[in-house]
Amino acid sequence: MASAEAVGNPGMTPAAGTAEEASGAIGIAHQIPRNTLALLMMAQVAVIAPYLQQLSVWIIAVGLFCGLWRTNVYLGRWDYPKRWLKAVLVVACLGGVAISGVGAFSLEAMASLLVSMFALKLIEMKSRRDAYVVIFLGYFAIAIQFLFEQQLLLAIYQLVAFTLVTAAMVSLNQLQATARSWPSLKLASLLVLQAVPLTLVMFMLFPRIAPLWTVPLPGSSVTGLSDVVKPGDIANLTQSDELAFRVVVDGQMPPPSHRYWRGLVFSDFEDGGWKARERRRARDYPMPRSTDLRYEVLLEPTMQTWLYALENSTSEHSNVYLTLDGRLESKDPIMSVFRYRAVQHQADRRGGQLSESERIRETSIDPDANPRLQALGKALLAEHGSPMAMTRAILMQIREQPFSYTLSPPLYPGRDSFDGFWFDGRAGFCEHYASAFVYMMRSAGIPARLVGGYLGGEVNQVSGYLMVRQYDAHAWAEFYDPQLGWFRVDPTAAVAPERVEQGLTAALSSSDLASLPLLSSARIGDWDLAGDVLRWMDSIEHRWNLWVVGYDSNVQYRFLSDLLGEVTAARIGVAVLIGGGIGLGLVAVVIFWGRRPANRHPVERAFRRFSNALAGYGYAKEPEESPAAFVRRVAGQVGLTEAQVGPIIAELDTLLYNPGVASGGRELRALRSQLRRLQFRLAFGAAR
């Protein structure tokens, strides 16, 4: 205990002290300087503000209430809250989190607790130790916010908040009397700025390892495909213009009609909807060839494990595997932008035999549901003979009969909803057409399944990558042919070919378009300037994702291989030493040599040499003494008369305050020799 105390900070020693401590200069060590409070309150507002998106309003309200209370304490109007009130607030916050509907161990619950603790601590903060607790909670809250989102703008904002928190910490260690907020902020900014190079080195070199245990995930706030699809679900996704993922293609970007990004395969029909359950690994991996299409996906967080890829794709990412139904799947949920490279195999059609259990699974329907569609399916197969011919017949029906493609189809209630769509309503979105198609095929005993994913995407003209947004969500179908294997059929192409060729906006009626979110880039796509700005911003965001957010163990390995030639512990060690040395060295140069007095006046230099020499004889110049006063004093002590030193002093004074003295000039040389002689005489006097 004793030795620990010895290295302790005054701020960390317990606040409860004797009466002696509570007053006078000693109090400095324990009280929180007022400007620290001001900075802390600012920092708190800055740190809590981004949480408005994730947390319930009441937590923000508690934060504001505490901030208001503390401000009034700060202004001397109110007293600190009573103990019972604090207890009530704590219990209320805990209870609020418990009943707010987020799971007890969800990320939201964690964040709620953190933010309310952060707010509550503010009103009971009295000692410096409390201030440090609030500061640490602030740093923690800044980091936790990044578990929800990691956009560039947020990161920049959080850097400002970080600097504010750091400024509060700086102000705790500056003298109270002179510690205004501005110097603390300035120093904190400087510290953060100087820490950035080192941060980059650590960021690049610190080994990225796999998660150690599973953690609670953010709740339902993420938009995206779900592994259960009912008619209408995908139409809802078109209301969002959020980014789903970006794709960088090596070489030629495939045309829009080839950009089917498979995400989920819905093989199971249950309760009038489709479910995707397959997670088993594929048994064999095809080998990539040089003609294959290579691309990299930067997937935005989905909190799910399925990935999006073109058909017949595989990935060599260590965390990605191929499933039995030919999808890419991640081992861990995608909680942050996930970068993976993939290869689309051009040659392999992935045929092969379907096992009996697979055949049963891929043909199962509810025998009682949609009887009319079942009958139609059986009749069509009987009429056309082969699955391929039957498909063509179905597509022909869609094309020729008055089917329409719409975002807001009528509701088809009940067990026979597919019947309702196909025979009565005839208006639907992609999943209606795909579902009806799969249902008919299955009724005829042909293995078929619904596939969910995205179709198309917009090429960013600035950087050439593809942006796929939520409104590009799409559903299509696959059926199994013994010769061809699984074959893709998109019934939507029959009713709305524009959807496939040009994207959603081209395929929709004007009333459907009006229901899209106002600022989606789909709508302002034709407004050039705004479109350009959006594309620029997305381009920057893409780089950010590419190099910062998506920097994981795989990217790190590739980066380090490029940088070091080969990734060995020794080479990484050397890189750490060099990088760290440069990072810290720069700071050291700035703070140790950065503010050295530049080019001292030559006379000042000469005089300094003289006064240093005299200091050796015991005549030290007082800091507040002028050069003239110093010479006069020493001369007096030694016993030299004014007549003896007067001329030298006059000369010294004239030259010292004359900015035009040249460093090699005659006057200066004369003064130097005079000073040397005086030094000798004074030294001689001192020895006597």
């Binding site: 004793a2 030795s3 620990a4 105390e5 010895a6 290295v7 302790g8 900070n9 005054p10 701020g11 960390m12 002290g17 002696e20 401590e21 200069a25 000693i26 109090g27 400095i28 060590a29 440090y132 640490f136 740093y139 923690f140 800044i142 980091a143 936790i144 990044f146 578990l147 990691q150 990161a155 959080q158 970080f162 750091t166 910490m169 700086v170 260690n173 500056q174 003298l175 510290l191 820490a195 950035v196 941060t199 960021f203 610190f206 390892i209 998660p211 942050s336 910062v548 957010v549 920097y551 994981d552 760290g580 990072g583 810290l584 700071v587 050291a588 703070i591 140790f592 007095p597 800091p623």
Partner: protein, 332 residues
Amino acid sequence: MADLPLTGNLGSARASSREIFAGKRFSRWLDRRIPPKNRITLTQKNVFIFPTKTGFAFGVLIGLLILGAINYQASLVYGVAFLLGSLFLVTILYTFRNLAGLTLELSGTRPGFVDEDVEISIRITRPKGRAREGIQLGWPEGIMQWAELSELASDVVRLYVRAPARGYFNPGRLLVETYFPLGLLRAWTWVDLDVRALVYPKPIFGEYPRSVSGHRDEGQLIDPLGSDDFNDIKAYRPGDPIRNIIWRSYARSDELMVKEYASYVEPRLWLSLETVEGKLEEKVSRLTGLALKATREEREFGLDLGTTRISPSRGESHLEQVLKELALHGLR
């Protein structure tokens, strides 16, 4: 450690530091490394640096964040953790830099009595360049004082230390420390400025020895122009104090008359060890009390310690001389 005086806000911290450097080996090592001098400039040779408890807590915070970053695979959480870590590393340079280059110099001392505080002034000077902030100075027994050199290049800090015994007092090594800029690290040094502060004996107040108590009658005229007792009336001469003019008589006659006063003092007071009781320390204390009492009453007194004699006089400087002799009696 319980019996050590826990004064000041850093009581326990400094008491234990004192324990550390009370260790003979450490003390000897320190003497070699930072030899006693009136003027010491701090360099990397004599400045130590180590994380504080806050610093270790900061480390735990960074560890937690890295754990979170690993489990959530969140790059920017790594980013925050690394930024905090870098901040810590950069702070090492700042904290060290805050002490390095400072020159500490004994500027002066003011004597005090035993069990009271002596004042020791330390001049602290920074080299040109960056300002120095949040520097704390103090002796383990005293109170830490904050110093800040931003606009000023030099400042004098007055420290107060409880004096344990009369004579010359060296409070030992002075602790100079700083937690600037973030409180995560503590840079400190123990310097011996070779302080010699004079400590007067603890006064014991008592009555004057009977043999020398004076009476007015035995008084001796020492100042005919004093102001204590009425003496005579005489004609005014230029230079006489105006307040002594008898205005009433001037109203009657046209002649200015003045009252003449004279001062008497009581017989000379000799303070000597024989006139007071007790052992040597008590005697010295009693004489100290008498000297203070006599000075307060503006009595003239002299000191006779056998080996040294100070002839009777009055005033502050006389008192200081007497107190110094008393403080050092028998110690030289």
